[in-house]
């Protein structure tokens, strides 16, 4: 196995869990003899995230100004492109994602079955640990409906931030990536461009610390934005890749 794999970890005010997340990755890699590289993108955190990254010698990029989740993740893709990685995995810094599932997520790409893979909480009922609120589930269903409408493909976990993409998509993401609400939007765009995808079941933990980028009072605004963007993607023209 010679594919170069990078875990992109966006972090904004994650001082409580970023070290724990990093340690879990290092321990896992040592134990199972895996070779994952890590890059933490510190999105100009106001707490001591930057100091923790420095002291513990965690590979990271400090953004000189806050860009939001999309801008931070895109910086990771740019780094992946510059350093010639074959697969980039988006991994949350707040302890929600479990490092053991990374191998499941990259497997379809390694076996050439898919070009991007979504780690999904809803594909089968592996999810005894993760209870998302009812409103959130409904929201995810509605987005799922619109993605199906626009692309004809059924995605179960539309807002999952646990994803892997191949080299071709790394290149694309490094050029253009939505600043806000990137997950459902990039998924729709990739499907519209006819990339092969796969959705694999993963377990997610409740977040250890930090706050979700989707706050309750913002959720209606979020839904309107995402649905409208998805509908705009429908009328845009994209060259098909295959």
């Amino acid at each position: 196995m010679s594919a170069k794999i990078l875990l992109i970890i966006p972090a904004y005010n994650e001082q409580e869990c970023i070290l724990k997340t990093y340690d879990s990755i290092i321990t896992y890699c040592a134990e199972y003899n895996m070779d994952y590289d890590v890059i933490v993108i510190n999105d100009c955190s106001k707490d001591s995230t930057s100091a923790i990254l420095d002291i513990n010698n965690i590979p990271h990029i400090d953004l000189i100004h806050n860009l939001g989740i999309g801008g931070a993740v895109q910086t990771g893709y740019k780094y992946a492109k510059e350093n010639n990685y074959d697969i980039a995995v988006q991994f949350d810094g707040d302890g929600q994602h479990d490092i053991r599932y990374v191998q499941d997520i990259i497997k379809p790409i390694l076996e050439n079955e898919a070009e991007f893979v979504i780690g999904s909480r809803f594909v089968d009922n592996k999810n005894d640990n993760f209870r998302s609120s009812k409103a959130r589930r409904i929201g995810i269903h509605i987005i799922s409906f619109f993605i199906k409408l626009v692309t004809g493909e059924k995605i179960y976990d539309t807002t999952s931030g646990f994803r892997a993409v191949n080299k071709d998509i790394i290149e694309q993401f490094s050029k253009s990536y939505p600043i806000e609400y990137p997950e459902p939007i990039t998924t729709t765009e990739l499907l519209k461009k006819k990339y092969k995808f796969s959705e694999v079941p993963v377990k997610m933990h409740e977040r250890i610390g930090g706050t979700s980028s989707i706050k309750a009072w913002k959720s209606i605004y979020y839904m309107i934005n995402v649905i409208l963007t998805i509908l705009i993607i429908k009328i845009r023209r994209y060259p098909s890749v295959h």
């Binding site: 990271h60 990029i61 400090d62 953004l63 000189i64 100004h65 860009l67 910086t75 740019k78 600043i179």
Partner: protein
């Protein structure tokens, strides 16, 4: 349209032109962006000089008085200007994001190099 309104509009159009011209001359505004203002200014000028007979169609498009039509045209022009500004700002936003990302990546590279030496 009353002569008073004509004179008022003419004055506004001239003042607008002078301020854009000064900004251009002092290099505070590139020509590209000044066009957003110059086009409405020309429209304003044309309206204030338009002959009486032209205003016959005011009622045709549903305005009750000429001055209402003028206000309507003003609002349209402001829409045009605001949309242009939104497009300009969005473009700049993209560029700023790119700069922040590239500088941050570069800083990381420099730091890495310094650590290795």
């Amino acid at each position: 349209m009353s002569t008073n309104l004509r004179i008022m509009m003419l004055i506004v159009a001239i003042l607008l032109f002078i301020s854009v011209f000064i900004a251009l001359k002092k290099g505070r505004m590139p020509l590209k962006y000044s066009l957003v203002w110059l086009f409405p200014d020309i429209i304003l000028l044309l309206i204030s000089c338009a002959p009486l007979s032209l205003w016959k169609f005011t009622e045709l498009i549903g305005f009750q008085t000429v001055s209402n039509l003028v206000v309507g045209i003003f609002i349209l022009m402001l829409f045009f200007i605001t949309i242009s500004l939104t497009i300009i700002v969005s473009g700049q936003n993209t560029k700023i994001t790119l700069l922040i990302q590239e500088i941050s990546l570069l800083k990381e590279k420099v730091r890495e190099k310094n650590n290795n030496n």
